[in-house]
Subunit: 506 residues, 2 copies
């Protein structure tokens, strides 16, 4: 049988199916699975991941890549089929450079390290976790070495999440943000805000109903998705036709539940908006991380969630339009609150220790701190033993806070125990991009009018057209350039946060 482009697409489609199945195993383990299933689920995911790796790096696909290349000799260089082939070739080559033994060792270590981390966090005992973290970091250094890099070992890892991103560039962005945000934060600290109104008793079923209604208005399609409860909300998809979001509602903290749903709905809009032509293609999966996803990068994905959550959901206009509906859902709790007070409350700067609870003005400092530590660990300039000390020093310097415990400090996130080194920067990249995309979208009069009257369809249409439909067929910088006319730049983000502080301090 001659190897043709057709063979290539069939192999890639099969690989997509396996990756989507892994996604379902993951989704289920975090939403539905009974407690007893943990161990066997781990094995199921490991086996399917091994199969996916074999498919991605095995002879059949590699020969199909060769065959498809030959068949398409001479077609114009911008033909999307060529890009599909080269995308798959590059990514599977990166994957193949990481020895299978290292992958399975890392997977085994992850299970041990996560449970060591959970114990250490509960006991506030960093020393108990340190040896496991040391091994995890050593393994990540080996993986970085296997992948290869020009400038800095951290680049190898960061670029698996954000293609093309380097530590040098990140440091530049972080510097710009520090310069701009620290004075803003000082100004915002002066503001007096009634945050306590968010901590009244808000029945979760009404929270859920309101958040769902708004998510639908923003364009999330429940015929191709669903919302379930989980511990740490996430979005995950099994092709564009089945894109699920999760949430977590707490009775006494209203914004937690609402904004998480809109955040995940932003991710969901991205996946639901990928062009149907790309389904099960080289542009709907990440063949390095072996993950079915239609978004161009972690940062690009985060830009869409942040856009809905912060640029739309935390805007003044949003609450002028929708606070009355929220008050109808909670008439007693919100009887003495105005739309303006509510908007202020959900935007209150609250410098704190926990990243996932951080407001927009402090969030990026949590990321900078972690990125700097990760880069230092990868370069061998920082040792695991020093982490609590370095953490405390950076927290004092960035946010003026004294770290009370390792649990509220270096032990707070699951990422390091999972070996996910290099993903934190994509949160800040996402924040930056969200403002760039939003600013560009608002130049479209229909989008601007829609935002003014609470019709989010034009915004969705713009995002579908400029971002979502392309799946992974464009790189993050190509998407940005085409949609906004500019490369990644902190300008729009800083402008948005400055505008917000101006409004808050008026």
């Amino acid at each position: 049988m001659p190897m043709t482009y057709e063979t290539f697409t069939r192999e890639i489609a099969r690989l997509n199916d396996v990756l989507c199945s892994i996604n379902l195993l993951t989704w289920d383990s975090r939403t539905m699975m009974p407690a007893g299933g943990v161990e066997s689920r781990g094995k199921q995911i490991a086996t399917l991941t091994g199969i996916a790796r074999d498919l991605a790096t095995g002879d059949a696909l590699q020969k199909a890549i060769e065959g498809a290349r030959s068949e398409l000799t001479g077609v114009p260089a911008d033909d999307l089929r060529l890009r599909a082939i080269e995308t798959a070739a590059t990514q599977t080559a990166t994957l193949a450079r990481i020895p299978a033994s290292l992958v399975s060792e890392a997977a085994e270590l992850k299970t041990l390290a996560q449970s060591a981390w959970a114990r250490a966090r509960a006991a506030d005992d960093f020393a108990g976790f340190a040896p496991m973290l040391e091994r995890t970091m050593e393994m990540q250094r080996q993986i970085a070495g296997a992948i290869g890099y020009d400038e800095h070992p951290y680049d190898a890892l960061v670029s698996t999440y954000e293609p093309g991103m380097r530590w040098k560039r990140l440091r530049g962005l972080y510097g710009e943000l520090q310069t701009a945000l620290l004075p803003l934060l000082d100004r915002a600290r002066e503001v007096r805000i009634r945050s306590d109104i968010l901590e009244r008793s808000y029945p979760v079923e009404s929270q859920r109903a309101f958040s769902v209604r708004m998510a639908q208005r923003m364009g999330y399609d429940f015929d191709r998705g669903r919302l379930d409860n989980t511990v740490h909300p996430f979005e995950i998809s099994f092709t564009r036709e089945d894109v699920r979001i999760t949430g977590r509602f707490r009775d006494t903290w209203l914004p937690g539940g609402l904004f998480a749903v809109w955040h995940e709905a932003g991710h969901g809009l991205y996946e639901q908006g990928v062009s149907p032509d790309l389904t099960r293609s080289a542009f709907t999966a990440d063949f390095v991380n072996l993950y079915a996803v239609g978004g161009a990068s972690f940062g690009t994905h985060e830009s869409q969630s942040r856009l809905l959550e912060n640029r739309v959901g935390r805007s003044r206009r949003f609450w002028e339009l929708h606070f009355e509906e929220l008050r109808q859902a909670f008439p007693d709790q919100l009887s003495d609150v105005s739309a303006d007070e509510f908007w202020r409350a959900v935007n209150a700067p609250r410098p704190g220790h926990i990243r996932v609870e951080a407001d927009e003005l402090t969030y990026d400092f949590h990321i900078m701190l972690r990125s700097e530590i990760e880069a230092g660990l990868m370069a061998g300039e920082v040792s695991v033993g020093e982490l609590p000390e370095i953490w405390a020093a950076k927290m004092r310097s960035y946010l003026g806070l004294t770290v009370p415990s390792d649990t509220l400090g270096v032990l707070q996130d699951v990422h390091w125990s999972s070996g996910m080194i290099g993903s934190f920067p994509t949160y800040t990249i996402g924040n930056i991009m969200s403002s760039q995309f939003f600013a560009a979208a608002r130049k479209d009069q229909a989008v601007e009018t829609g935002l003014e009257i609470g019709d989010y369809q034009p915004l969705k249409t713009w995002l579908n057209d400029q971002v979502h439909r392309h799946g992974r067929s464009r790189s993050p910088s190509e998407l940005l350039l085409a949609a906004t006319g500019s490369e990644l730049s902190t300008e729009a983000y800083i402008a948005d946060l400055t505008h917000k502080v101006d409004e808050l301090t008026l």
Copy 2:
């Protein structure tokens, strides 16, 4: 690397993981999946099934089987490892005999045939479905031929669901049942029963709560399981640590919801009770049907569900013990009903057209009718075009009913459109076995005392020990013989139904 028994178990464990993943894809598609996911889910299941087939029939496993055989030369013949090897060898050889092209053709046809069936059923148009059914039957005949058989083509298919079962033996069993049940049915028809009390308005949440409470009392472990809503209730597992059941509750038909939960809990008890030593082994999967399951056969599995549903849940003692608790859940609806009246109502003979709504006295006639048609189709003695006519004749002869439409007749079940020929007999085999196992269990004094006081733990322990823990390491007849001292026999079942009619007509 030398191929050893260790290699064999590792390959088999991987295959189990893939089959468990397929089970999860299936479970999700019938409980959680949004409507949009149908098409891509079909592809995911097809891809994983193809991978499972490749693993089962591929070189790695076959060489591992050879290696393990050599390694274990000389061990005693009853060593369970030998049986594991031979079970896997025999089943994968059967699977390999069915050409891959036939499997994928059958899978493709299934999708088309199911939707043709659904349309035909809605329009009461058998002729519209007939061509598709003709192709399905032709394919099943080819599959039967590929698998091979000694006496009758139907045997090849039946034995994939019920190892060792043949059409000749089935006809013998059916004859015995007809002889015994027809007079019982005539006697039972005379009984006047207040069935209307079951059709009052019973809020589904209370139905669910009561059925769950009783399922727990029967021993179903919710830490390793869960109950969800679906259209056609089923049980499915992903190792013994995660065994899920499903139900369907209707406001105005109380027994439908309750008994379905206990039925599925009976299946669930089986899977949850498989010995942990067997997890991910050759004894926890069906390598012909490519399905992760710990039960010895479809019939054996059904015996466990029928045992809880009918032998326990429909017994007089059960309702003497638990009716008061049910009445507390529905105080208004059941205020004028006695335990005895309720027991009679859930045992009322109701000859009708629909198999899944049939009572115990008529259920097996629905199975006989279908088995006879299937055997005739496989032998080429019956043509698809004749089916409505044959169906009507048999329905008249067995239950004295005139078939009003194809929707209530030949089009009622999904099985034929799915190409599941040969599985219907296992329902009757399950009924027969359920009485054999139950009679044997009751010889244990602790079981009998438990049933008398509503403590179902001793029964569960007996079933765990005699049936469940063995997984698929014993054949159905070995299980029966060891547990009951007898081969498959209708005696106990007929005795149970006779006793029931005696009680009802008292």
